[in-house]
């Protein structure tokens, strides 16, 4: 039996990869160690968040599953950063840890061309630096043209609680023992990373009355551009806010040496944005308290996730720590917090297509590439799936640009700068974030998706319909004038707004900061929904800023168009600074644009490179990749 595509791993990256290659008509097998863990959420029970919520929308625009399934599986959803500007708004939902994987498995089972198999992959079958399949722990061999590795935190995973260290993956699952060694033999540069997760608390042992409620939004939302909201807005689950206190801090500081991190039991590098509570205390000594959140894991079991309290302390200390918190005096810990160490590859060794530079037809996605987060993983899985398919179809690969998607920023950062800690997406990483908004993910990406055939005709039609509505609405706003009747004047007065001139078009009015699309429907009946109005409002209100950003993009675009041939020999280029030469040699950027983003490559090196290319390759500038 031979497959077109073998996907190793059934986490968020593996799901999207396998779904996409199968959707695109390629015979696909997804191999997971445990079918029950497909789409599992071993850490926080939420999907989305700042920047991440926008990634979920991008995944949806490109034909991925995450947004759709999240829409079906959450018990609370809200829009973050509503007041801070349109570019940084982002959805986050509390996803049910039972429902989400269940709905995901169902979606995969309904997908044509996709087989799911349990098994543990321990080696790759390689011939002439090209992958030909995988072999399992049982020595069974599975052949395939393309292999996509999405091993998550399972490569040589170690779970640490205090001085206790166990050779296992999350939830006490089995780990892969040999795959990372075998990758190393092939020339992969293996790094050790670390992450962690906080304790889980039994719901019935929590006194919620001592905590502050955190509710969902009063407005209906969906991640997906193709789905209608199906949840009950009034029946959303609450989360709770609580704080650490002096006593908690004393317990932690007195037991610091017992933690896996400070006791010297951990070798992996952890992310700065996900520090353990002991890290937070050590690094920010002056802070009197730290915020924590309690979030339900599922409606089907009574475990709550204590966000902000990730730790690698031994169990007895964890119990003391939890009991010091207000409302958790009698709390029962159902799962102790742990730190987990795992092997990852150096992302500088992969191409922007997510194919390995070392082994042809081998793709990697998710935490194996050094990232952190469900959304970051899913988006890479999707891109790996699309590019694997395109390769099988003999088509040009899909490389999203930094001005097109957060996914583009993510992958470009990985393959250009590499990462020394698990990489989390932040809005601050996107220099063109004003263009990369949650509201326009479909406008940015659906056309691209249609070209690479990663969406259905219906999904493309939804996008076309939105475009048409935007056009109509724009015309409507430009031609509809506000007639200042007494009634309207009175309404305006309520909102403290004065309009002097009669008969101004709504379009003109929207240029004023105080006149918003939330307000307009209260004054005049508008035949367009909020999504359409908001889109146009953003274009009107922030035109100046948008244009500035677009200008910046255009300035850089030319550099990205200049491709560097794959076979370029950097030792032949005179005058390159030695640091630049070494970095270019290692990263082998595909374009002048990418080269210019490498730290240590100076503008003068770029000039030299451009001149060399012109000289060597002249007018027939070859395309790379």
């Amino acid at each position: 039996m031979k497959y077109d595509v073998i996907v190793v791993g059934g986490g968020h990256a593996g799901i999207e990869a396998a779904h996409m290659t199968a959707f695109k008509g390629h015979k696909t097998i997804l191999i997971t160690m445990n079918i029950k863990n497909i789409g599992d959420m071993p850490c926080n029970p939420s999907i989305g968040g700042t920047a991440k919520g926008i990634i979920v929308r991008e995944i949806d625009a490109l034909g991925g599953l995450m947004g759709k399934i999240a829409d079906k599986s959450h018990f609370q959803i809200k829009m973050l950063n509503n007041s801070k500007g349109p570019a940084v708004r982002s959805l986050r939902c509390q996803a049910d840890k039972i429902t989400y994987p269940k709905n995901m498995l169902e979606a995969l089972r309904n997908q044509k061309n996709l087989t799911i198999k349990e098994g543990k992959v321990e080696n790759l079958l390689i011939k002439n630096n090209q992958v030909e399949g995988v072999s399992l722990e049982t020595n069974e061999e599975i052949k395939g043209d393309i292999v996509i590795l999405t091993t998550g935190t399972y490569l040589k995973a170690n779970v640490l609680i205090g001085s206790e260290s166990k050779k296992q993956g999350p939830h006490g699952e089995d780990r892969s023992n040999h795959l990372s060694d075998n990758l190393k033999k092939l020339g992969f540069d293996i790094q050790r990373l670390k992450t962690g997760t906080p304790p889980r608390i039994k719901a019935s042992s929590i006194d919620f009355s001592k905590m502050q409620e955190e509710k969902g939004d009063n407005q209906l939302w969906t991640f997906s551009f193709d789905e209608k909201p199906i949840y009950d807005i009034n029946n959303q689950q609450k989360c709770y806010l609580l704080y650490t206190n002096q006593k908690t801090h004393e317990i932690i500081m007195n037991n610091l040496n017992k933690s896996a991190m400070y006791g010297g039991y951990v070798t992996g590098v952890g992310p700065r944005y996900c520090p353990s509570i002991e890290d937070k205390l050590v690094r920010f000594k002056d802070k009197e308290r730290h915020q924590l959140f309690l979030e339900p894991e599922s409606l089907y079991y009574d475990e709550w996730y204590l966000q902000g309290f990730s730790t690698s302390m031994p169990k007895d200390v964890q119990t003391q720590m939890v009991h010091s918190l207000q409302g958790l005096e009698n709390a029962q810990i159902t799962k102790y917090a742990y730190a987990i160490e795992y092997d990852a590859i150096n992302p500088l060794q992969m191409k922007p297509t997510l194919e390995s530079k070392i082994i042809a037809n081998l793709y990697t996605a998710g935490q194996i590439n050094g990232t952190s987060g469900y959304e970051e993983a899913a988006s890479q899985g999707l891109i790996a799936g699309i590019n694997a398919s395109l390769k099988l179809e003999n088509q040009e690969p899909l490389i999203l640009k930094r001005n097109e998607a957060y996914i583009g920023v993510l992958i470009d950062d990985l393959v250009t700068k590499g990462t020394k800690e698990p990489y989390r997406m932040l809005t601050s990483r996107a220099e063109y974030r004003l263009l990369l908004r949650h509201d326009n993910a479909d406008l940015r990406l659906r056309n691209i998706a249609w070209q690479v055939k990663s969406i259905t005709k219906e999904q493309y039609q939804n996008y076309q319909n939105k475009l048409q509505k935007l056009n109509e609405c724009q015309k409507y706003l430009q031609t509809t004038k506000l007639n200042l009747t007494k009634e309207i004047k009175n309404t305006l007065k309520e909102f403290n707004i004065t309009i002097n001139k009669n008969q101004q078009s709504l379009y003109e009015l929207l240029k004023r900061p105080e006149i918003t699309t939330d307000l307009l429907p209260k004054i005049i009946n508008i035949p367009y929904n909020n999504e359409i109005l908001e889109e146009i409002e953003i274009q009107i209100k922030y035109e100046g800023y948008l244009n500035k950003t677009i200008k910046e993009v255009e300035k850089k675009a030319k550099l990205d168009e200049k491709q560097i041939p794959e076979d370029i020999d950097y030792t032949k280029i005179k005058n390159l600074a030695s640091e630049a030469r070494q970095k270019l040699e290692q990263i082998r950027p595909i374009s002048i644009g990418q080269a210019s983003r490498i730290s240590g490559v100076n503008p003068s090196d770029i000039s030299i490179l451009i001149i060399y290319l012109k000289k060597e390759y002249g007018k027939n500038e070859p395309r790379s990749i």
Binding site: T50, A51, L80, N81, S83, K84, G85, P86, A87, T197, P198, E214, L241, Y243, P271, R272, Y273, C274, P275, R283, F284, K287, R289, H290, Q291, F293, Q307, G308, S310, K417, L426, T427, S428, R429, R433, L434, P513, E514, Y542, Y545, T549, E554, K555, K558, K574, N575, L576, A577, A580, S599, N602, P603, S604, D605, S607, I608, I610, I611, K614, K615
Partner: protein, 451 residues
């Protein structure tokens, strides 16, 4: 689209009688149109030369010849404009600054040639020479930038950048971690004071940069007035007093200097205003037009009036024309009876007599005080001295002003932060200490967040 670049194309600026500024790129014609007296210049035929003035709005900066060369038959194969200017080094720099304020940036070393090669204008052999010119590592821009700066300035810029980084990191944290309500939430109310203080300091830096140039090159003072008011005797009085040092500041200016003195450590150069002084016009006209040109070249003007005569209309017009320019009125011939009347001006007036050397000290003190130079203790201080640095500082100031304005309106904080971030990057480029991940590092070193 390639951007438009400009630079002074002549070597050893200042030594020759003419300097050439070259502009190349799509915007070249638009730019010259904006700053040239002939507003139809962009429609001129290719490869033609045009006479006129470089204008800063209504102000004449210099009398020039402009060569228009349209793509593709040019050195770079792009639209090229060359300006032959006559006004000496300072004026050349001023014109270049004007161009850079439009949509052009300063060309890097060898960049015109680089474009010529990339656009297929010059051959391989010539390109080799360019490659050597671009020799890396040693000519790293940031090290170059560093060489021009020392202690105090860098410190000042660093502290400004620190303030901005703290503000930005805080804004970013509010955006990326909205659930952390314990962190200070940045609002318009607490941004404005920080921005205003940054603005004030930036203005200070820019002002001192201008002082820095004065300290390096000296002040240029023009003595103007109608014939026979005593301009020559005033000049002689000024020069004699200080045992006039003779003008040999070549390499810095081509302006013809009548003489120079050093007063309180500052070089004061008196421009040759012979053109006005020696006018033989029978109706005793001052030559207002000519005066304007000279006024533009000078840092400060001394207008000499004879208090023994009534004001003429030309003199009144001249006073009006001084506008915002730094100037002093020297009311000469105090040894004779007063006949002048209706002298209304906000300019400082010194009563004196060149003949009996009265008011000369006072005049010199006044010159120095107009530039606030008496307070500068260490005259060897290094300031932002090159055009690149100064234009970056000005750009930063402009961005901060935009941010302040946006903040006054209902613009969301995310947008406001764009301008602050760009300003912060401008300052980073001045001191050559800027890296992409800097802001992210800042966020995590300043704030405590995470699961």
């Amino acid at each position: 689209m390639e951007d438009t670049i400009a630079a002074i194309a002549t070597n050893n600026i200042g030594i020759g009688a003419i300097n050439i500024i070259r502009i190349s790129g799509n915007e070249a014609l638009k730019i010259i149109q904006k700053i040239f007296s002939n507003k139809k210049i962009s429609q001129a035929k290719s490869h033609t030369i045009h006479y006129g003035y470089i204008m800063d709005n209504d102000q004449k900066i210099d009398e020039v010849l402009v060569t228009i060369m349209k793509a593709p038959k040019t050195y770079t194969k792009e639209d090229v404009v060359e300006i032959n200017c006559h006004g000496g080094f300072e004026v050349t720099r001023k014109i270049l600054s004007l161009i850079l304020k439009q949509n052009a940036r300063l060309a890097e070393k060898g960049e015109f040639t680089k474009r010529a090669f990339l656009n297929g204008r010059i051959n391989l052999l010539e390109a080799e020479a360019v490659e050597d010119l671009l020799e890396s590592s040693t000519s790293n821009q940031s090290t170059l930038a560093m060489n021009h700066l020392t202690g105090k300035t860098t410190e000042l810029i660093n502290s400004l950048r620190d303030q901005m980084a703290a503000l930005l990191a805080n804004i970013e944290v509010n955006i990326d971690y909205p659930e952390y309500i314990d962190e200070l939430v940045i609002t318009k109310a607490n941004i404005t004071p920080v921005l205003t203080s940054i603005k004030t300091k930036l203005e200070q830096i820019i002002k001192e940069a201008q002082n820095g140039q004065i300290i390096k090159n000296g002040l240029k003072v023009a003595i103007i007035g109608k014939p026979n008011v005593g301009k020559s005797s005033l000049l002689n009085a000024l020069l004699e007093e200080e045992k006039a040092i003779v003008t040999d500041i070549s390499g810095t200016t081509r302006d013809v200097i009548e003489g120079s003195i050093i007063y309180q450590g500052i070089i004061i150069n008196f421009l040759d205003t012979a053109g006005i002084r020696k006018t033989t016009d029978k109706v005793e006209k001052i030559g207002v037009e000519k005066s304007k040109t000279i006024m533009n070249q000078a840092d400060l003007i001394i207008l000499v009036l004879n208090q023994n005569e009534k004001l003429t209309t030309e003199e009144e017009e001249l006073i009006k024309n001084i506008g915002n320019k730094k100037a002093i009125i020297f009311l000469n011939k105090q040894d004779l009876p007063t006949k002048i009347e209706n002298l209304s001006t906000n300019l400082p007036i010194i009563l004196g007599s060149a003949k009996i050397k009265k008011g000369i000290e006072e005049l010199k003190d006044n010159i120095i005080s107009q530039f606030n130079l008496q307070n500068i203790e260490n005259k060897n201080l290094t300031y932002l001295t090159n055009i690149r640095q100064i234009s970056l500082a000005k750009e930063a100031l402009q961005l901060i002003n935009q941010a302040i304005n946006a903040n006054k309106k209902d613009i969301p904080i995310d947008m406001v932060s764009i301008d602050i971030k760009n300003a912060w990057e401008c300052l980073g480029k001045i001191i050559g200490q800027y890296y992409e991940e800097e802001l992210i590092d800042n966020i995590f070193s300043r704030f405590c967040l995470g699961k």
